[in-house]
């Protein structure tokens, strides 16, 4: 087994590639490398100098392990994306809870009006309009802050989904002509 293949085996072991698949790839690689070297092509010329990166890339593209994120310029991007997505999700959840529970307390404008007819309170995005004692929440000016945050969070999450889908598209290998 060449040193290149041995390094690949180590990387596949580290990544948790099942042994039968690692053995299959190593056998394929060893046979090809052997032929290349017999023709005067070194492993480095054929596969590059970074055996571990190559091994991770191969296993990733086969779908055995996640595609390595460290390639190209994206080493930090997943972390930034995770943080961005997490913040957007937290803001979405918190604002949704605030709106559902009415906390912090919305500004209430209560007024006593004569009960003229009976009907169920109507619910609006900014509160509810009751009849009878007519508790008026429609004029709640505190709520829009939460609604704006909620909308921002939804937009941010949509953007995060788009970023993740872009990131998920693995980059094809490079070539030189």
């Amino acid at each position: 087994m060449t040193d290149f293949v041995a390094q690949c085996r180590l990387e596949w072991k580290r990544l948790g590639v099942p042994e039968p698949l690692a053995e299959e790839m190593a056998t394929e690689l060893a046979a090809d490398l052997s032929e290349a070297e017999a023709e005067g092509v070194s492993a480095e010329e054929f596969l590059g100098a970074d055996a571990r990166s190559f091994a991770a890339s191969w296993a990733g593209e086969r779908g055995i392990v996640p595609v390595p994120a460290g390639r190209a310029k994206g080493r930090r991007r997943p972390f930034a994306l995770v943080a961005f997505t997490a913040v957007a999700a937290i803001v979405l959840i918190v604002t949704a809870l605030l709106l559902l529970t009415g906390q912090p307390r919305a500004t209430l404008t209560a007024s006593e009006t004569p009960e003229t007819h009976h009907q169920l309170p109507a619910v609006t995005p900014f509160g509810s309009v009751g009849t009878g004692r007519h508790v008026l929440l429609l004029g709640n000016l505190a709520a829009p802050v939460e609604w704006i945050l909620l909308i921002f969070a939804i937009v941010a999450l949509g953007f995060a989904v788009w970023l993740w889908s872009s990131w998920g598209r693995s980059r094809p290998p490079g070539v030189s002509a």
Binding site: E24, M25, T27, E28, L29, A31, D32, L33, S34, E35, A36, E45, F46, L47, G48, A49, D50, S53, F54, S57, W58, A59, G60, E61, R62, G63, R71, S170, R171, P172, P173, G174, V175, S176, A177
Partner: protein
């Protein structure tokens, strides 16, 4: 020196999007193992090295069901893993070639009009 690097990068970027088609095309000529495919490509002027090795791309084609594989002994050599396009792969190749030709013709239509006068110091 710098413009040579830019040229190389552009060539790499141009080829990146069609390398899967090139692989499907060379294995469509006849089943081939990995190194054999690199030789077929090299004979046509495409040298693939390093992380750009064909193996990750072959892995993806296999994962996507565009190639079929089988094992057979090479020319009195060790057992090799041979690749050939699946029926889905052949369809993808046909569509990809059509797309490539349309794109190439469009770019040609633009670039064919270019007349550049380069002045040297």
């Amino acid at each position: 020196m710098r413009h040579m690097v830019v040229d190389s990068q552009r060539r790499t970027e141009l080829l990146r999007g069609v390398l899967d088609l090139c692989l499907l095309a060379v294995m469509n000529e006849g089943p081939a193992y990995g190194y054999e495919m690199t030789k077929r490509l090299r004979d046509r002027g495409l040298a693939i090295v390093g992380e750009g090795s064909i193996y990750p791309l072959l892995g993806r084609l296999e994962r996507d069901g565009l190639v079929e594989t089988y094992r057979a002994a090479g020319n009195a050599g060790p057992m090799r893993k041979y690749y050939r396009p699946s029926s889905t792969g052949r369809l993808a190749l046909a569509m990809g070639v059509s797309e490539w030709r349309a794109a190439r013709d469009s770019v040609d239509a633009v670039l064919a009009q270019v007349k550049v006068e380069v002045l040297h110091d």
